[in-house]
Structure formats: C-alpha cells, structure tokens
C-alpha cells in the first residue's frame, strides 16, 4: 500500500477571491504533509519537514511511480550534527559534545 499521496494544492486568490489550482501538489507521507511537488516534469520535491533519508527515498520512489518522473527531493539543509539520526557512533566527530 502506498504511503505517499499527492493532493492538488488549491488556494484562494487574494485578488480574485476564487479558488484555483496552484500548479503543484501537496506531498503527504502517511497522511501528513512533508512537502510540495511542482506539476512540471522533473520539478523538485520541496520538503517542508525534516524527514530521515530513508523516508526521503520512499517519497521520491513513490512519486516516481505516481507521476512517472524522476524528481529528487531538496532536503532541508542545515541539519545540526546532533539531529543527524544516521550518526550511530558517539565521539566520531569533533562536535559530539552536543550528543551527550
């Protein structure tokens, strides 16, 4: 069963007051928004949540299945080392003082 859902991103125009499609999808993972994906082929997946790399891969592959493009996700940059869930060993970097 797919964990990723694409929902049309609709919005109310602040000038016209009318609802219209914003040419991008809201990307939901397990029913919760994690990003946006433009409608054009190859548009990047713009993440809005910090999700682990393995989940990013799931999002990319399932969007590929749904839309047939090979878009890559732009990960949220700036993750501090103490937020790095892929780091398994303590004391392997100079800033591991934050891990303790």
């Amino acid at each position: 069963m797919s964990r990723v859902e694409l929902r049309k991103h609709m919005g109310i125009g602040l000038g016209s007051g009318k609802e219209h499609f914003l040419n991008q999808y809201i990307v939901l993972l397990d029913g919760r928004q994690v990003g946006y994906k433009g409608c054009k082929h190859g548009d990047p997946i713009n993440l809005t949540s910090r999700i682990p790399t393995d989940l990013v891969k799931i999002v990319e592959s399932e969007i590929d299945l749904l839309l047939g493009d090979e878009s890559k996700a732009n990960e949220l940059i700036g993750t501090w080392s103490h937020e790095d869930t892929t780091e398994v060993e303590q004391g392997d970097t100079e800033d591991d003082i934050f891990d303790s």
């Binding site: 929902r7 991103h9 609709m10 919005g11 109310i12 125009g13 602040l14 000038g15 016209s16 219209h20 914003l22 040419n23 991008q24 809201i26 939901l28 029913g31 919760r32 928004q33 990003g35 946006y36 433009g38 990047p44 713009n46 993440l47 809005t48 949540s49 732009n74 990960e75 949220l76 940059i77 700036g78």
Partner: protein, 138 residues
Amino acid sequence: MPSAYYTGEGATATFPGISSACARSISVSGFSVDKIDATCLDSSNFKEYIPSFLKEPGEVSATFRFSGTLPVASVGDVGTATISFGLLDGETTAASLTGSGFLTDVSTSEINGTSLVEMTVTFAFDGIGTEPSFTAGS
C-alpha cells in the same frame, strides 16, 4: 480542532532556485490597494475615497542560513514562491501562501567571523501568472 497559535515553528519558504533552505525569518509585505480621492465640493465632514481597481501583489522576503551557494542566476527568473506556515497540532496540511513572481534581490549579511552568515532574498509577486493565493491549513 487544531490549536490556532502560529509561532513560525516549522515554517518553510521556497523560491525559484532556492528550495527548502533553512529559513530563519520570513516576512510578507501587505497586499495593498491605492485609494483615489473622490471628494466633491459638497462633501461634508470627511474627504471621500474609492479603491483603485488594481491591487499591489506585494513581496515576500526571507532570511536563510547561508549554505555556500547564491542563487544569483535565478534573479529575474519567473517562478513560484511558497511560504508554508508549518503544521499546527492536528493538521495534516499546512496553511500556505503561493504565487508566481521573480527574485528581485539576493544578498548576504556581513561576514565578520563572529556571527552567522545569512542570505536574504526578496521575491516580488508578479500579478500575471499564479496570483498570490492562500490555502488554509487542514
């Protein structure tokens, strides 16, 4: 029922050439409309105004932690900006502001060795393509 206290927690901003960088602050200029003085000689008490038929689509600016690249190539290119306000408790999709336009300015803060280097970008809604649009969180 989601709580309705937006603090900016989890907010993100994407612009042409800048996707999901670490935003430190985001500001949205007000959408405005000019007023036209329609006062008549026989008006009383107050001057009279009517709204202009065109609205100012406004701008969005955001400050990011500098990531080592500047999207100067995107300045002037038309694209889409999306400001996501972050998810409140109980929400599955975030409130957002989206519209087409172009980057008008990209700059960095002073590099002085004692404070974080930041990048500030300004995006002007163009009022031509996708009009600035608001989506409520749900």
